[in-house]
Every structure is written in structure tokens, then in C-alpha cells.
């Protein structure tokens, strides 16, 4: 699976037109300076050899050197992950903290005004492009109220509170559509579970509807939600590319974006691969969690 992804990435990128050496040296550079740089960057070896080298290197944690930044790709990626991962996780937490209770509330008040209002809200939340929402958020909380920075990022080791503050608005922007989706999925799942026989059984045992939902319903409803959560993490990781641009955060998404425009193939490759690994790992974790929560999926010893 990962090998296939690696092959796809490499194939795509090796076909890319554009010469990184020329880009680095700019429009007035002489052809021999460009040639010298090409040689220095090892762009002349045959493709297969480069692919195998790259693969081998990655297994040993060596992703090669960035051609434009002249630094180990691994180091660049790790630095950027220190922004992107917390951002994604924070967004994930926010969307869960906001989305799930609202979904439960809506399911409980199904058909009542509260439900309608919440679902209208959720529809809107899904429909608002997150970069646009980000712009509105900065306008209100950073420019007008000055509660939070407009963007940028302070490294964690310098001032972790500051770092956290810089992540608040971006993760809110990221979280809005996801929270809306979660609320809707949670509502649907719970409404579904509420109609199931075991809820009736629980009520027959002497529980009120609320108790039954709380003790039996929510946990069962979380199963479909879990699948969505796994997918969402993947989308969030991708969504960071845009939000990082709006808030000028030094994250992995922006790294890839810039690396592509600068034709820094080695960097794009490595970073894309890491992204794919993160996404795949999330899927795997989701599956494992699923099996852990749902005894029906546990492997029998």
C-alpha cells in the first residue's frame, strides 16, 4: 500500500516539467551555472536508481536533501509537523467537543425547533468555505478585538502558550465544517440507534428514554461516527494547506505548496509521502479503535 503510494508519488513527480536548478538561479543565470547546480543536486542519475535510493533512504529515516533549502528533508518535515499535527488534533478536538453534544441534543429534540435550528446551523457550517470563515474570524478576533494573533507561529519551545494561541483561530476555521458534519452524523446515528430494539429493551428494563440513550445509545451511535472521524482526520490534514495559507502558519501543507512551486522535487516527494503515511496511519488507527470498541470485530483468540 505505502509502496504503491511511493511509486505513484515518484512517477508523478519525475514527470514534472520545470527545472529546479534554473528556478534557484533565476532568469539571468548562465547555462553552465545551471548545469553545475544540476550535477550538484544529483538530478542526472537514471530514474529507477533515484527511486530505489529514495526508498532505501526513507526506510532509514533519510529523506534526502531539499534542493532549494539545502537542508535534510526529514528535518524540515519534522519542524512542520510540529505545527500541522497539533493544528489538526486541536481542530479535531474542537469539532468533537462542539459537534457531538450538539448532535446528541438534536437527536433528543428530533422534530422540535431546537433540532431544526441546530440542523440549519449545521447545514450552514458545512457550506461555509473554511478559508472564508478564517478571514471572518481574523477580522473579528484578531483585527478588531485583538484577542488572538492574526496568524504566524511562535515555535513551541519559545513560548508554548503563544504557540497555542496562534493555533486557536486556524483550528476553529478548520473545525467548523467538520463539527457540522459530526453533529449531523451523530444525530443520524443516534436517531437510528434510538429506533433499535435494544433501546426499547433498555427502556423495558426500567430506564427513561434519556437514560437509555445515554447508557446504551451514545456508545452504539459512536460506531458510525468513528468511521467518519477517521475520514475527517484525513480531510483536516489536507484542509490545513488552505488554512495555513490564510493564517501564514509554517505547516506541512504550506511546505508542500511552496516546494511544488519551487520544483523542489525531493521535498515534495518526502512531504507528500509523510502526509500519505499520516492519513493511512489514521485509517489504521480508526480500524483498530473500531475493533476495540466493537466486540463483534475483535479477533477471536
Amino acid at each position: 500500500m505505502l509502496l504503491a503510494s511511493a511509486a505513484v508519488i515518484f512517477l508523478l513527480l519525475d514527470l514534472l516539467p520545470g527545472d529546479p536548478a534554473r528556478f534557484i538561479l533565476g532568469i539571468n543565470a548562465s547555462p553552465d551555472a545551471v548545469a553545475a547546480l544540476r550535477l550538484q543536486m544529483g538530478l542526472d542519475a537514471p530514474a529507477l536508481e533515484r527511486f530505489l535510493q529514495w526508498l532505501g533512504g526513507m526506510l532509514g529515516g533519510d529523506f534526502g536533501m531539499s534542493v532549494t533549502q539545502r537542508l535534510p528533508v526529514a528535518q524540515l518535515i519534522v519542524e512542520r509537523l510540529a505545527v500541522t499535527l497539533p493544528l489538526t488534533i486541536l481542530a479535531m478536538l474542537i469539532s468533537m467537543i462542539v459537534g457531538l453534544p450538539l448532535g446528541i441534543l438534536a437527536a433528543r429534540r428530533r422534530g422540535k425547533p431546537a433540532d431544526t435550528a441546530l440542523m440549519v446551523l449545521a447545514q450552514t457550517g458545512v457550506a461555509v468555505p473554511n478559508f472564508w470563515f478564517g478571514m471572518l474570524l481574523t477580522l473579528v478576533f484578531a483585527v478588531t478585538l485583538r484577542w488572538l494573533p492574526t496568524g504566524g507561529f511562535v515555535p513551541w519551545h519559545e513560548d508554548w502558550i503563544g504557540s497555542l494561541r496562534s493555533l486557536v483561530l486556524p483550528s476553529l476555521a478548520l473545525a467548523l465544517p467538520q463539527a457540522s458534519i459530526l453533529a449531523r452524523v451523530m444525530r443520524t446515528a443516534l436517531v437510528d440507534v434510538m429506533g433499535q430494539d435494544f433501546i426499547r429493551t433498555a427502556r423495558a428494563k426500567g430506564m427513561t428514554m434519556d437514560e437509555a440513550i445515554w447508557r446504551h445509545g451514545v456508545r452504539n451511535a459512536l460506531l458510525p461516527v468513528l468511521t467518519i472521524l477517521g475520514l475527517q482526520f484525513a480531510y483536516l490534514v489536507a484542509g490545513t494547506i488552505i488554512v495555513e495559507n490564510v493564517f501564514f502558519l509554517p505547516g506541512l501543507g504550506r511546505l508542500i505548496f511552496n516546494a511544488v512551486t519551487e520544483r523542489d522535487l525531493i521535498l515534495v516527494r518526502g512531504a507528500t509521502m509523510v502526509l500519505v503515511v499520516v492519513v493511512t496511519a489514521t485509517m489504521l488507527i480508526t480500524d483498530l479503535t473500531y475493533a476495540w470498541v466493537d466486540p463483534r470485530l475483535r479477533v477471536r483468540a
Partner: protein, 279 residues
Amino acid sequence: MSWRHNPGLVGGLIAIIIFAALGLTSLWWTPYPIQAISVADRFQPLGPEHWLGTDHLGRDLLSMVMHGILTSLLVAASGVVIGIGVGVPMGLAAVAWGGWVEWLVLRLSDLAFAFPALIVAILIATLHGPGELNAIIAIGIFNIPVFARVARGGALAIATQDYVAAARLAGLGNAAIAARHLLPNIASLIIVQGTIQLSLGILAEAALSYVGIGTQAPETSLGLMLRDVQGVFLIHPWLSVLPGLTIVFLVIALNIAGDGLRDAIDPRLRRQGMNHGAG
């Protein structure tokens, strides 16, 4: 179920028809030609001459929005067509043939899932340069596994039905079964998912154009309009609010229609709740 009992579907559909009509009209008529630049007329407020005002190049905003809706819808719809065209046969084949075909389909869609749409778009943009086509392909690729999974999920349920066994008894091959029995019975599922993907496609197009790898001038799309004026947001907020709200309403209309369609076609589908975030 009668559609009269489904105000969401009706409202959503009417809104979509209005949007689509606005977009289609722009093919042969807009109040002003969308490429007519007249710097002297820029940043006009709303008024009798330009109903919704003009942008930073003096173009008529109503014309731009009309055309932008068309582009956004076209890009999203083409993405859905690609997704259905490739994904549904994949999903059906997985069920009808089973075995290694199914394995392959599942792995392929895992692979496609692992590449977030935006990354695909960025990679394609570097290959072919930015443009609508790029957005269409990226959104299409993103849609493929979604439809493959929905088709497979739906078809799996259908395949256990006795009438499929009856068709096999009647000597139908895998392909005939997929075409005659599986496909018609999952069509409603596909339509519902199509509406959802359409709305996601519109958001994705907006995002791609916003970061500069989607639609390019002199064409226009709602996302591109937002990109063009993001710098003057504080001075001329209307220029951002208009396309932004258009996107919001368009997506809401599609979602509501999709939900309504789902309820109308089969209340039982509600539980399937395939819903993905935007890429």
C-alpha cells in the same frame, strides 16, 4: 413518498434550478460581457447600472457571479461524472466478480483515499498547469473511491437478494447482472451521493481556485472571485461577501435537496449517512 411532504427537497430543488438557470443564462447573455475590463468603472457600488456593483477591474459583478456559478457547477458536476463513471463500475465489478477484482478495487480506493484531493490537485497543477481541468480531475479522482464504496456497499446488499440468484440461475453473466439488476437498484443511492459530492465539489473548486490552482482568469469562478479580492476585503467587503454567500447558498441548496432526495427515495437510506468533509 409524495414530494409534497418534502418541503426541503422542493425548496432545495427550486433553489438549484434558479442557480443553474442563472449560470446557464450566462452562456449567451450576461448584463455585461464578463471579460470587458474597464478600470475607470471599478469598485462601483450597487446601483441601477450595475445591480451588484463592479469589481477591481470594473467588471459587472452580477455577470461575474452568474458565470462563476456556471463554472463552479460545471467543475463540480464534471467531477461527479468522473467519479460515477469510474467509481460505480469499479464498485459494481467488485461485487459482481468478487475475489481478486474486489481486492483490487478496495486497494485502489484505499490508495485514492490516502491522497487528499488538495494534494492531488497540487500535483496535477504542477503537471498540467493550473486551470479548471485540473480542478475537475482532482475532484474527480477524489470522487472515485467515494462512489466505488457507495456502489459496492449498495450492491453488496442487493447481491444477497434472491432475485440476483434467480438471475444467475437464468444464465446471466456477471456483467449482465451488474447492469440489469445491481445498477438500477443502486441508482437512487448514487443520485443521493451525487448531490452530496456536487456540493463538496463546489467547496473544493472554491478552495482550489482560492489557492490559485483552480480556475484561472479570464475565466471566472466563485472561488477565483474570492481570491481576486481577498486583498481588498477590508476596503470593499462586499466583493468577498457576494461570492462567499453565493457559495454558501448554493451548497446549502444542494445539501438540502440531497437530504430531501434521500428521504424521498428511500427513508431507510438515511442511516447510510455517507458524508465526507471537503478536501
